[in-house]
Homo-oligomer: 271 residues x 2
Amino acid sequence: MGSVVIVRSWNSRAPSALKFDIARRGRTLATDCKDCPLRRLELFRDFSPEELRFMQRFKTGEMQVEAGTTVLLEGAKAPQLYTVLRGMGVRSKALGSGRRQVLNFALPGDFLGLQAAMMAEMTYSVEAVTPMRLCAFRRSDIWDLYKRFPERAFDLTWAGALEERFLGEALTSLGQRPARERTGWALHTLYRRLQALGLEHRTEGVPFPFRQQDLADALGLSLVHTNKTLARLRAEQLLTWEDGRLRIPDPDRLAEACGVEPTEPGPRPLI
Amino acid sequence: MGSVVIVRSWNSRAPSALKFDIARRGRTLATDCKDCPLRRLELFRDFSPEELRFMQRFKTGEMQVEAGTTVLLEGAKAPQLYTVLRGMGVRSKALGSGRRQVLNFALPGDFLGLQAAMMAEMTYSVEAVTPMRLCAFRRSDIWDLYKRFPERAFDLTWAGALEERFLGEALTSLGQRPARERTGWALHTLYRRLQALGLEHRTEGVPFPFRQQDLADALGLSLVHTNKTLARLRAEQLLTWEDGRLRIPDPDRLAEACGVEPTEPGPRPLI
DNA sequence: CGGCGAGTTGATTTTCATCAAACACTGTGG
DNA sequence: CCACAGTGTTTGATGAAAATCAACTCGCCG
């Protein structure tokens, strides 16, 4: 390890990608685990020095991808697993009909590819929505990790359980809540996550680079209805979302108004 | 270990529970892991003799519960974890409004309580719908398992990944498919699972002890609409569901008619 | 300038929820 | 034996929520 690989986008989201890419191509030094900016966040559990050394060896490199890149593809066997260092993306499942379901948003600190590590293939795709920097691991090293570092194996299971918990909440929102509450729940939850990552600006809210279509696909609502629901929440002064930034002046009030039960993030392991 | 504990129902599903319970109370011999009927199924991966010995020690006993019993409670710290040996149940989340979302159905071979093992508490409940027999483990032994038996730790993570995958599919169904397809998807999936467990009778289909309300809560549909949708699928000769049995004469045709992508179960670990 | 992607808004149609009233079946007690 | 209450299923009538269709805006880029 020690170098960064740049991957070019294949889709239309970043039309001017090529030029930019070529300009930057080359091998840059990857960040050392001990300097990882994520580790400093309170959100994440502390590493022991020993764990740190192990992870450093486990890490095979870093990957920089542009907006629009498919990081992991549904149905494919991924040889690499990733932890998000910077940037955001969406995890989604495509249907034959051309529709898609956004299962979750991929934020810094998220581990990508647990399914690929366990079963043969991924059952959903991960696509970058902004440029992303990913910390890469070899899938085949996972077994070694289980044998030699049970603490880290435990953390992997934890990550899986956390995802299971989130999906359970999402399912409950889609199944039982009307559009307004559903939308409020999603934005509240994302806001809290971004806040915990230290991305909140005092007056400007948090960066929120998604399209309304992404949110609509996450909530199981049509684009038009999502738009009107957002307008309603805005009229209620609960939030604003413009120019790629989400502002929620009073998250507790939004939670209250949308019947979201509070669920503090608590320290979680970083992988 | 070696004895069975009988737990009494507290809710109204089994009005005559008390009498029955007292008659049966007492300590019966628990089944030995090596005689576990589930192990014989092709669905599950084989155990090595060593694994078998370990699991035998890990197991702390068996629990027999009646229909209506809450096996694990949302929000509570569960000191015990379980594998379902016999019987069925539902995993569900309750909302303040009195509504609930059924996240999944608990069938033989399912591991219950992964969340409790990892985080502090369960985020959903598990309730028995029929009498159930559960294989019990001590939560506090989990860490020992990670240190001493990485194979089994890996299997635990696998179980989490499988659940994640299922929830992703469920979310996609609720978010993107209309009532008819959603219903067809759910019944098709459950039929396949029950089939793999060897519960299919040649002409009588599979046992299906749930109420329409359970299915409605799983699909995010009203009871009435679920009923009408079932009537439609029945009129299309795709399935019948009566007297607690589900029959799907041609599962492939149902899958085709409801746009379900095929997903074979494949060997999975038993915990 | 024209074209494209993303957001916005109004009109119309469809799906699904709610309300209401039966029916079938079971166990219970008079 | 029959009335009854309770639970689960079924069906029809009505209304609300959300999808679809269509048009228009705005900013951006070639």
